[in-house]
Symmetry: C2
Subunit: 215 residues, 2 copies
Amino acid sequence: MVDAITLYMLDKPGVLKKLSDYIAKKNINIVYTYMHVESKGYASTYLELDHVEDITELITGLKSFPEVINVESSSSMDKVWGKRIIIIGGGAQVSQVALGAITEADRHNIRGERISVDTLPLAGEQKLEEAVRAVCSLSRVGVLVLAGSLMGGSIVNAIDEVKKSGIKVISLNMVGSVRDHADLVVTDPVQAGVMAVMTVANTAKFDIDRVNEVL
Amino acid sequence: MVDAITLYMLDKPGVLKKLSDYIAKKNINIVYTYMHVESKGYASTYLELDHVEDITELITGLKSFPEVINVESSSSMDKVWGKRIIIIGGGAQVSQVALGAITEADRHNIRGERISVDTLPLAGEQKLEEAVRAVCSLSRVGVLVLAGSLMGGSIVNAIDEVKKSGIKVISLNMVGSVRDHADLVVTDPVQAGVMAVMTVANTAKFDIDRVNEVL
């Protein structure tokens, strides 16, 4: 269980380091940070922290620093955005996979789960390889769906990395070697999207590893 | 211009702090970190760094630490995922906005830009308020689209925060006070998605602030 806070602070060298050191001295792990400049001289840093014993006491302590304007408790990304489905490929097909995934996610989110559907319409072997590899650096990804008509070449190396990191890969039934490296191949893009969400949903009885056919 | 690296390291207390201190001593700003446990005893940390004079020298220096297994140069999130459109609301309508946005983003991404479309199908005033507020903590968001049929109440407070942070807000033409707080109101969800992307795209001549009608 992570705690999330947002620090509003002076945008000066060493400020974030000073505050991070204070947090670390309490044996708290900082597992996520995103700092951006709000306006001239002021920055905002969103942090996710693990192993916080007393979040109220931490916030009070951080507020006592002269460089800190304010500290707010925030909702964690897992609570708001939940598990992620990433869909990459040609726009027409990404849209249809998204249609299926969003509709299915809606059904689960309305019953208390949290699943979000993120898309990147992109073409070109090198660009796709780079994007697929970058999926490994994103938090909370459960499934990657490759939605296109022709995908192969060096993209498969990136797919193998994604699978090694624990993310399941669904591919549309298309031309090229990518489909041979997927955990599941689905012909109907809408169904592919639905199945991607079923793969991560708590309340679905779908086990992607038990499907041994092309749908 | 940020540089991105991925550290593969031992998952032990103080390791990330030790490496962050080393980076900070070189007057490099750490603007983004995401750490996760890869397997028992090993962690992976993705970092984005600002003001790096010599990335090769930094990587070599980090590799010299005994706790570090490997360091790789990575593609930054801005390069891979680019500018973001976030679409939140009822599944049916989020899907249609996504259809428009993905199709339009495809047209720009094929010409060298990078725009991604992220969605969260969600209902309920408190949940929507929380999610809209959380948009401010995400990186690279250009536009938020609220896609529903009835939205009001406390959601508008969160919308005002989003707008203050520089993100444009598009609302579907729906019942409730949310539409009165948006920068732009659009009736056709597909068009709303297209316009959201046009708002952020470099190559589009669309200026959202010059539209003074409900479409």
